[in-house]
Amino acid sequence: MTKRFALGVFDDEDILLHAIDNIRSAGVKIYDVFSPYPVHGIDDALGIERSRLPIAAFFYGLCGLSFALWLQIYTLGFDWPMIIGGKPQIGLPAFIPVSFELTVFFTCHGMVITFYTITGLYPRFKTPVMDVRSTDDKFVMAIELDETSSAMPKLTQLLRENGASEVNQKEMTKK
């Protein structure tokens, strides 16, 4: 499916942040903003909700900890109990290091895999982008247009007024 976008190109993050505020209060829905680096305050300006990844990370960590404790207690305590240096078979203090490491291992990898999955990051042969300069030095605001691009003249004016250095139109083929 092909979608049309009005692209407002900005040179500065502060101008961009004001533009987002003004354009949203003018009742225009912003499709997305592309920037070369994380612009602080953009989440609030765009109304992006706080990511729930930390909660996911906590549960991955919990899984790691449970797995580590199960592994050590089951193998050394039940499956093949051994007396090592006259110490208790289930010696929890000795299990702390491995439990900690596996907690970190699960937290980190679980969270990173989740991040790549939900953000749709996977190796691609070709990456279509709205404006190639958005990974260099420009901040690009994309506003979705309808079939006829009827809103284009109005949007151009709105973006210009709010400090966009150029306004372009782009068609993107989305799966």
């Binding site: 500065d12 502060d14 101008i15 942040l17 004001h18 997305d32 903003v33 592309f34 920037s35 070369p36 680096y37 994380p38 612009v39 602080h40 953009i42 989440d43 765009l46 992006i48 990511s51 990844l53 930390p54 960590g61 592994l71 193998t75 050394l76 499956d79 093949w80 051994m82 090592i84 110490k87 010696g91 000795a94 290091p97 491995v98 900690f100 490491e101 970190v104 291992f105 937290t107 980190c108 990898h109 969270m111 990173v112 991040f115 953000t119 749709g120 990051l121 996977y122 691609r124 042969f125 990456t127 709205m130 190639v132 300069r133 958005s134 990974t135 260099d136 030095d137 709010n162 400090g163």
Partner: protein, 486 residues
């Protein structure tokens, strides 16, 4: 609000614009390799050859190729292992601990330092694996069921903790590093001309577009990764030190080992970061990004950790005397005055005296002196591990089994070879990957005070007042709230 004091030194000099950053850092990725890079690579490959030959000898003829004997069963291999792992720690310290402490200056060195971590851990891992003698059975260290029954690994052993610590450390550092690289790969991808470059950087950048939502998640992920990496990096060298501290060998059986080893690791790691960065900034002309200020700051961390190490050396001696344990006292006297006195003297000079020179401002800001110091510290830290390991082992409880250790040519070959392996990997990284985190530098660019010569030539970039002239419609005093995140 984010305030940057006017008296703070700028983090990036030369009045760079956002585009300049992309240009400067992508330059060496896009340009043909220069003659200095080819020269360095040839030397690195030569040493890599030595590595392969030494490993071949070790595997074909066995561990007998090394200078180990019945008394000194651990020597160069474990020395090198601890040395390399320690070097890696500075990378994580820069990428994680300094991120949590919001030290913005880390931005220009974190990428290369993390790369150093990963390559150092690869080099470190060679030694325990080769010391197994039969590395193809290396999977025995993992908790897998034995083919003959369910005999498991011993979770009470620090050597096994090490397996978990090092594998977690390596994989976590790798994904942390890679996740940071994704946006920068996207920058290279969007500039790429040739089809091969376009294809490879598209694959590497995984379809990154820099959308606001993605950045928001990216920042969350970075913060949590930093949060888990911080205790992780401390745990790794703690566990490495427990390989020794939980043994009953005098000279090893010491409770101060964990903090002492962690400080030593950061000390040697920063020395290696300095060595690498001083070369990188010259070879790739990155003096505007890795400034004298960065070098001075790294020197200061080196001085602090070096002093902690110095205090630890003295504490060990005091405790040996204070404990009134004859064997403990002998182990330390033997260290300082026994047949390995020269290694001990080397360690004391390089690690205790050298970092104190950094108190002088002239030393801290001198590139030449810093470079020499960083090499000296690396040598000193290698000797520290050698002293701890070999002098504690070579004269044990039974005088009839006392022995000396001397390395064979293969011992030396494996060690020198890992240096080759390390530099080969680092040079490949420096050529094909962006050596400086472009996205992070761009993010701090606006907030670093910059009075560079080109300042007035870039209106609208550094001085907020010029925004009014560029954009009518935005009030000059418009409130911008950064306090939510920073």
């Amino acid at each position: 609000m984010q305030h940057v004091s006017a008296i703070r030194e700028p983090l990036v000099t030369g009045g760079k614009t956002l585009h300049d950053v992309t240009q400067d850092i992508c330059y060496q990725v896009e340009a043909k390799p220069n003659i200095r890079w080819i020269g360095a690579m040839s030397v690195a490959l030569f040493f890599l050859g030595i590595f392969f030959y030494s490993v071949y000898r070790t595997l074909w003829y066995g561990i007998g190729e090394w200078g180990l004997n019945k008394t000194v069963g651990w020597a160069w291999d474990i020395t090198n292992f601890v040395w390399w792992v320690g070097i890696g720690h500075a990378g994580t310290l820069i990428s994680a601990v300094l991120l949590l402490f919001r030290q913005k200056w880390r931005s220009s060195i974190n990428r290369a330092a993390e790369a150093m971590t990963i390559f150092a851990v690869i080099c470190a891992a060679m030694f325990p694996v080769l010391h197994m003698g039969r590395p193809w059975l290396a999977f025995y260290v993992f908790p897998l069921q034995n083919t003959l029954g369910s005999l498991w690994v011993n979770f009470n052993s620090p050597l096994l903790w090490d397996v978990f610590a090092i594998s977690t450390y390596f994989t976590v550092s790798l994904v942390f590093w890679y996740t940071g690289l994704v946006p920068d790969f996207a920058s290279i991808r969007d500039r790429a001309k040739g089809p091969i470059a376009k294809f490879s950087y598209s694959m590497l950048s995984m379809g990154w577009t820099g959308s606001a939502k993605a950045w928001s998640r990216y920042e969350t992920v970075s913060l949590i990764l930093a949060g888990v990496s911080t205790p992780l990096v401390l745990s790794v060298h703690t566990i490495v030190s427990m390989d020794f501290a939980t043994a009953v060998v005098p000279g090893w059986h010491t409770t101060i080992f964990p903090p002492y080893f962690v400080a030593g690791a950061i000390f040697s790691g920063f020395a290696m970061v300095l060595t690498l960065m001083l070369i990188t900034r010259v070879v790739f002309k990155l003096e505007d990004y890795i400034t004298l200020e960065h070098i001075a700051l790294m020197n200061k961390i080196m001085m602090v950790t070096g002093s902690i190490v110095g205090v630890a050396y003295i504490t060990e001696f005091f405790i040996a005397w204070y404990s009134q344990v004859e064997y403990e006292q002998y182990a330390f006297l033997n260290r300082a005055t026994g047949p390995y006195w020269w290694a001990y003297a080397m360690m004391m000079t390089c690690n205790v005296i050298t970092p104190q020179l950094v108190w002088f401002r002239r030393v801290r800001y001198s590139i030449g002196l810093t470079f020499i110091l960083s090499i000296v510290v690396n040598i000193g830290m290698w000797f520290e591990r050698f002293v701890i390991i070999v002098t504690s082992l070579h004269r044990d409880y039974l005088p009839s089994s006392w022995a000396m250790f001397s390395p064979t040519i293969i011992d030396i070959g494996v060690f020198v070879g890992t240096l080759g392996l390390f530099f080969t990997l680092f040079l490949l990284f420096a050529k094909f990957f962006p050596v400086i985190n472009m996205a992070e530098i761009k993010a701090i660019l606006k907030y670093t005070v910059d009075n560079g010569p080109t300042y007035s030539n870039n209106p609208g970039h550094h001085a907020p007042a010029t925004i009014t002239t560029v954009t009518p419609g935005v009030p000059a005093s418009a409130p911008v709230t950064y306090d939510k995140h920073d």
